[in-house]
Symmetry: C2
Subunit: 185 residues, 2 copies
DNA sequence: TTTTAAATACCGAACGATCGGTAAAGAAAA
DNA sequence: TTTTCTTTACCGATCGTTCGGTATTTAAAA
């Protein structure tokens, strides 16, 4: 690498921030460029596939975060209750306590929906499965565990929407608490 | 009105369908025109404020639906349990059993977010309040009723997202069932 | 009842602005 | 010097929007 005025990690963070804030269609190259501090053509040097490539890179980046921060924790060999606490804490950090939107939801409308539908569905399903796995470790039967996995994602996604539109981040924290209660019941 | 190739009700339905499907930024005038059967210039005759005016009209239309189909039912003088059933049924119909997205969520990204933020927040709050009111009628105390109102919206919104991305509409029906269980507990 | 004028609705064509994207040249690192 | 990265300048396409003009309907005048 010759030189880079802006570190790749920073670029990734900024792209993620723009996409999750305004959605795929709402994110113009002009905004992506000014947010990253790179000119449009420089973005195309780093992402030869353009806007689609940037979005794909962001989704891959998030997938890596999921693997290391969520699935790794939920499926580790620690005591089940500690795993649940650790995962919910990591989730709370990632969404800044309910102040940031979910990138998967932001990519589920318009032009991006068709391109990334399968990848988004797979990620959601992985989340459901990981939570369901933890539920079985906590003694729930298979059917109940599946329902708990689904309801966890429902509560995370739904509370993020309400937290942001009503500007009440505590609704997100309440939802995380409710998930914990459900699992330990 | 002189003459009208396409009935206003039809136009409203088509606009609603496009906006909720692809979001505000994702809905181009070209698509809105072809969906309604009107040319772009004709859309501007009916909606002098252009795309923003169309979105506002759609949100007003949905507000009217909320008032007559949800709030009217939830706050009527019928027995509380029957009100709950009727409201959940109406909601299920409006979202076609989980196959259609929420227009409010679709308008929460990008350019539309800034324009309609207050109106969207108000509508969500009205939903929460209506559900909370019903909860008190069912004998729940004030705090519990508030939580039930919030969790109802969380489940509706969250399950709509999962139902559509995972293409499993039954997740939405499950959520409606869960709401009923929560209220009657 | 017929004629005429106003009002209403629609549409083709074009507007300036912005979209995502690219080619070529300059500058820094190797 | 070669390679890597950034930059300026630009492209065609599409964006939301507007204009000039044409149907169709309503209503007043004759």
């Amino acid at each position: 690498m010759a030189f880079s005025k802006v570190e790749p990690d920073i670029v990734m963070e900024r792209l993620l921030h723009v996409f999750r804030s305004v959605g795929y269609d709402g994110a113009s190259l002009t905004e992506l460029a000014s947010a990253t501090g790179l000119k449009k053509a420089s973005l195309y040097h780093r992402f030869p596939d353009g806007k689609v490539g940037m979005a794909r890179a962001v989704l891959d980046h998030v997938k890596g975060w999921d693997d290391s921060q969520i699935f790794y924790i939920l499926l580790s060999s620690e005591p089940a209750k500690e795993r649940l606490d650790a995962a919910l804490n990591a989730i709370s950090v990632f969404y800044e306590g309910g102040r940031l939107a979910c990138i998967l939801r932001a990519m589920s409308h318009g032009a991006a929906a068709e391109i990334f539908r399968d990848q988004i569905a797979e990620t959601f399903q992985n989340w459901v499965n990981a939570f369901a796995h933890l539920a079985t470790d906590l003694g729930h039967d298979s059917d109940t565990a599946q329902k708990l996995g689904e309801s966890s994602l429902v509560k995370i996604q739904g509370s993020l929407i309400l937290a942001q539109t009503l500007q009440k981040p505590e609704l997100f924290q309440d939802a995380l608490e409710a998930i914990k209660t459900d699992f330990l019941k």
